[in-house]
Amino acid sequence: MADDSEPGSRGPGRAARIGFGLFWVYVILYFGFIALVLFRPDILSSRPFGGVNLAIASGLGLIAAALLLSVVYMVAARVVESPGRGRR
């Protein structure tokens, strides 16, 4: 392991690429939310769905999104790594 200097060859390449793509999806969601908190808090106090305001809804949404993306990743990684599919 110590003599492999190419990070791409370490671990399953395709699973890592899928993970990285999903990572950026979440980065956009999370920092988008932080940007709203910082610059447009008025949008977050609006109540587009009637009852619950957008601040609470997007917080719950971020938690749900994290779980959803992680399940997608687990399934996708299993598919690309399964024998017969080839790993690279």
Binding site: R10, V37, G59, L69, S70
Partner: protein, 577 residues
């Protein structure tokens, strides 16, 4: 407020702690190998490991701190939850698999796999110890806060009790017993938060016309405590606070809503009016006075950002940066926490590591959703202690029944046990495996290595107890924010660059870890918050523009790594630094 200790609470608590310690002795009854002690033989089932992730991660800060912050300041406590959970995305998608495939026992193993450099092992072992100790402080403070109402014992006794129990757990069976303690704690915590949330929802919201008279707590120069000018006793104490002043108009004259659905609960609360209390300190010749005054606020104001992070509404740039910095540190910090990373060595392969992270995210996410309801339930329970935000969750349970209070307090206490044992385990590995064996180059056989780890665990336990007593007046979430800042600044740049930038050199890693750790630590020690709460100086004397260092020190770590790597050519490896 003064609390009465209940025999039921003591019984539940004592049986709990004894059961956990008994389990540890049972698991540790056989002699152990180093792989067993430091990594639970790499044979933990992924589901157990996933729940143990939750048990490891959901610290006293999550349970006590966030609940308290939501109960006193509204939505902003939930921002911590969002950030804490988001960090798992970094852990799962970027860090988990390489950590698993490169390391053996500790995080330093993984960073050093390519270079075999003593310098890397030394700097990473030190950063592991610094982060673990910073993370230990809030856990121990939380333990002390809990013991007062639960057993009627002083803060210091709680801290020492946790310290001794955890040291026993770790020393008896290392990572094996640590994992099981965390698994039990994780499941109990999520389960009981679920029970408490369903009780909150079925109780609904009720108008409570508590007195709105301000209350004063005075500590005289000779150390006596006065409430509204008279000595504090059980019968003459601060009134509990946190009430609902009015329901939405659509309820007419009704004073209670009856059972509510989860979303309905939130939307009714938004249209209600809520009484929150805040304290203001002043000092004169007769002592230090804290005056607690009520404010009646619209639910919509409490359920939007800005209640705790005042900077979000003032428009001052430094305050906004402080907040952005914290949220960045929470995002990057989880994946850099040594006690979380070592849990990847307890499962057998990358697929198991992935599955256990998903289980962890599910359990932790569910817990944070429940915490929102617990915090809001506490906010309107009429049971809050105006002097202690950390007591919100147990006092909420008390508003239902004393038995539930005892159960929740015992669980909160185990919460501390689970996380502290993980931290001490991480520190023990850093000392025995990284520092003594690899840096000092003292050869050890398996038994000696385990013994060395155990001695380190005892030492860390003692340090943790001392710090827990020293830092007792802090909100525990706040302190955890610091630990995340240091972890993210010291460890994340190296982890990420090692994986994605082939030109990273060992000098680059050593420099980035050292600079990231020292810069964030120095920044924290110079921050306005530390000036005010630790040194007792004026906030304005602080030389740094905002208190949370991450926004500056995380990028600084990356820059240092890149510059130093470019200046030092990649050498044929194998040479010690």
């Amino acid at each position: 407020m003064l609390y009465e200790s209940s025999p039921v609470a003591i019984a539940i608590f004592a049986s709990f702690v004894l059961a956990v310690i008994g389990l540890s002795f049972w698991l540790g009854r056989k002699g152990q190998s180093a792989k067993g002690y430091f990594a639970a033989h790499g044979e933990i089932h992924w589901f157990i490991n996933g729940i143990a992730f939750a048990g490891d991660y959901l610290s006293a800060a999550s349970f006590l701190g966030i609940c308290g912050m939501i109960a006193f300041h509204g939505f902003d406590g939930f921002l911590y939850s969002i950030g804490f959970l988001a960090g798992w995305i970094v852990a799962l998608f970027v860090i988990a698999e390489p950590i698993k495939s490169m390391g053996k026992f500790t995080f330093a193993d993984a960073l050093d796999a390519k270079y075999n450099s003593r310098g890397i092992k030394l700097s990473v072992a030190i950063s592991t110890l610094v982060v673990s100790i910073f993370y230990l402080i809030p856990q121990m403070v939380g333990a002390g806060d809990l013991i007062m109402p639960l057993l009627g014992l002083p803060h210091a006794v709680g801290v020492i009790l946790v310290g001794v129990a955890v040291t026993l757990i770790v020393v008896t069976a290392g990572m094996v017993s640590t994992t099981w303690v965390q698994f039990i704690k994780g499941s109990l915590l999520v389960f009981f938060c679920g029970v408490l949330t369903s009780m909150i929802l079925s109780r609904g919201l009720t108008v409570n016309t508590g007195s709105l008279e301000p209350q004063t707590r005075t500590v005289t120069p000779d150390g006596r405590v006065l409430v509204d000018g008279e000595p504090q006793t059980r019968d003459h104490d601060l009134r509990p606070v946190g009430t609902l002043a009015a329901l939405p108009e659509r309820y007419g004259d009704a004073t209670t809503t009856g059972p509510l659905g989860p979303l309905e609960y939130l939307s009714v609360l938004e249209d209600s009016r809520i009484v929150t209390w805040s304290g203001k300190k002043s000092t004169d010749a007769s002592g230090t006075h804290t005056i607690y005054t009520p404010t009646v606020r619209a639910g919509t104001d409490l359920l939007k950002p800005g209640g705790y992070f005042k900077g979000l509404t003032t428009g001052k740039l430094a305050d906004k940066l402080d907040f952005a910095s914290l949220m960045l540190a929470l995002f990057c910090g989880t994946a850099s926490l040594p006690h979380i990373l070592i849990r990847y060595y307890t499962v057998k392969d990358a697929a198991a590591a992935r599955k256990s992270t998903v289980v962890g995210i599910a359990a932790i996410g569910a817990f944070y959703v429940l915490t929102l309801f617990l915090g809001l339930g506490a906010m309107t329970s009429g049971a809050l202690d105006p002097t202690s935000t950390n007591m919100a969750a147990p006092l909420l349970a008390k508003s239902f029944s004393n038995t539930l209070f005892a159960a929740i307090s015992a669980i909160a206490f185990t919460t501390v046990l689970g996380t502290v044992s993980g931290l001490i385990m991480a520190g023990s590995g850093a000392v025995a495996h990284d520092l003594v064996e690899n840096v000092l180059g003292i050869p050890m056989n398996d038994d000696e290595k385990v013994r060395c780890g155990k001695i380190a665990a005892v030492g860390l336990g003692i340090v943790a107890m001392a710090l827990g007593i020293l830092f007792r007046s802090f909100n525990v979430s706040f302190l955890v924010g610091w630990a995340f800042n240091i972890a993210a600044s010291a460890n994340l740049p190296s982890l990420v660059m090692l994986l994605f930038w082939p030109r990273t050199t060992k000098e680059g890693i050593i420099a980035a870890v050292t600079v990231g750790m020292l810069a964030s630590l120095t920044w924290i020690l110079l921050s306005a918050d530390t000036f005010e709460k630790v040194y007792g100086l004026s906030r304005d004397a602080s030389p740094v523009p905002f208190s949370q260092p991450g926004l500056v020190t995380i990028p600084l770590g990356f820059i240092v790594l890149i510059v130093v790597s470019l200046l030092t050519k990649a050498q044929p490896q194998g040479k010690p630094a």
